[in-house]
Symmetry: C2
């Protein structure tokens, strides 16, 4: 269904750049290029349903990207460094507009929408799972792997916030160095 | 100026809970209890000016809180753990509504408003400065202290996002354990 996908892609882009509250159905429709009338056919739940679909799609794309990146290195510190390099490049290429596709919406809407909170939770968990598996394969016990994965994901998420405020990749570079040192 | 302060406090509360785009001048005025007519007298720059003032006030309050907390312990790991305990208690007490007062607005509006981006950058820098000073007093070299402070702040910011998505303090507890272990 091309127009359904177009709506989801347009929503994902806008959520990542400006968040949930600032993104209206008019802007989504205009960006999607799809006929306006088909929006409520595909998404009778409106913006909330669209946002959940966009978070699930962006979350799964990024999960696959994280997995491909962290299994590409034998050394776990180097694997995490490569992951940060990928996020850093994306942020820089977009003029510090495109950080995490899930974080903004979570902070804005987790309180007001149980659907959005739950979608965010599932996406973050899918990323934590990939990171924890990689750490287990490097010798971490399951509980320790989960804790370390949480530190790694939290540090990357936080560094993406600091980098947008600073309009520089400095915070990501600092976190990268710290995470490499931690796995030396 | 009581009504000026009331507007700032009301804005700070709403930005922390729901972010920038969802917060309107009507809601700010209603919550402030101040006469509507005085809003543009005190804030001719409207919502953007109010948001910057609210970020500066919340940022300074939290900076003072961070400083008081991290100098209260001789052990740096314990000091960071106490800081996370304070943030965790605030988040839990608010039913997972009140995380970082700066992060949401940064992610939403750093691209669109240079004033907001710059205010966020200054607040984050003031927090990093306090953390880096504490780490230097524990023996870190200045550059290493700044890197570690960035990791600590980023990890706390990220854990606050994950905790709101998960509606649990688990991610903060995991990051707390990792940061303590790092400073053992």
């Amino acid at each position: 269904m091309p127009s359904r996908d177009d709506f989801i892609d347009a929503t994902a882009h806008l959520l990542r750049r400006q968040g949930y509250a600032a993104t209206g159905l008019k802007e989504i429709t205009a960006r999607s290029g799809a006929p306006r009338g088909s929006l409520y056919f595909h998404f009778p739940g409106g913006k909330e349903q669209l946002a959940v679909a966009a978070m699930e799609r962006a979350g799964e794309q990024l999960r696959a990207g994280i997995e491909a990146t962290v299994v590409s290195c034998n050394d776990v510190g180097e694997a995490l460094a490569r992951l940060i390099d990928v996020m850093t490049a994306g942020l820089e290429r977009s003029g510090f507009e495109q950080g995490c596709p899930i974080a903004t919406v979570t902070l804005e809407a987790a309180t007001a929408s149980e659907g959005i909170r739950s979608a965010a939770d599932q996406v973050f968990n899918s990323w934590l799972h990939v990171l924890a598996e990689r750490l287990e394969s490097a010798g971490f016990e399951p509980d320790a792997a989960r804790r370390r994965a949480t530190l790694v994901l939290a540090a990357i998420e936080g560094a993406l916030i600091l980098a947008r405020a600073h309009a520089s990749t400095g915070p990501l570079i600092a976190v990268r160095a710290e995470l490499i040192a931690l796995h030396d």
